[in-house]
Amino acid sequence: MANPSQSYVRNCLLSALPAEAYELLRPHLEPCAFPKGDVLIRADEPFTHVHFLDRGIGSMIVATPDSRRVEVGIFGRDGMSGIGALLGASRMAQQTVIQMAGDGHRLEVAALQAAIAQAPALHHKLLNFVQTLMTQASFTALSNANQLVEERLARWLLMCHDRTEGDALHITHEFLSIMLAVQRPSVTSALHVLEGNGFIRGTRGTITILDRGALVEFADGAYGAPEDEYRRLIGEPN
């Protein structure tokens, strides 16, 4: 089955590319499934593919040598893995792993770079995405430095919600504890606060968003700027 024409593409970044740029990539896009836990890119190892998700969520994580970790970036159908390939790097310091299962396409780095050489407008649009990831990472740093666990959690839940269909997030407290760099029981406690306020409902394995507006307000300025920038540079993510 041929890869979809651009009007049917689910990944927002691919659908925002100039038409000629998408057509250069189209024959090289390989459909794939992304199971939970799949390591797309290992830290400090050369990588051969980038990945465009249609469904699911990928996380970029950095770790100390003794495995203390924190999540520094999150993407779904809004973006891609392996931004190092756009910036002259064959290895990245961050690990990229699938946190919520999904599907999409992968693309050989060599094919991506060949297409970029032919179409500078392709590079430009993909770099717009890199810009939004940097802004997202900046607000993650701000949030981590200044906010309480429950406020940071509200922000992350909104970001996950943006990248899933429906209001039910199938994420574990353990995943959240890595994203937020806190002990897992602290996550359970922070979820209890959000639930007590009526913002979410938590059951085993699932967190359901009940009141997005209240979560945005509770996140107190740490959510919104990277999302606005994405809309300005790339387009409406949905």
């Binding site: 309480l148 666990v149 574990t172 407290h173 353990e174 806190v182 002990q183 897992r184 029981p185 602290s186 359970t188 406690s189 209890h192 938590g202 059951t203 085993r204 394995g205």
Partner: protein
Amino acid sequence: MARYFFHQRTRDATIEDPEGSELPDLEAASAEATTAARQLIAAAVLRGIDPVGTAFDIADDRGNLLLSVAFRDVLPPSICDPQPRNPW
């Protein structure tokens, strides 16, 4: 490895841990509870309020209580030790 559940006792009720953590042994679970209690206490202290939690009850996946870690026991000794009694 086993799954340990950290139910947080508060003054009003117990916050159930629906998920648990995979850890090597009870000692590791105790260390996790201690660190989590310290995080929760520190966050409350910074806001000038009392933490809602009073202890973590660590249970196995059948609900058997294995160990409790009281929040008051995770504070540094310099804060907890009472003043020396005035002998006069």
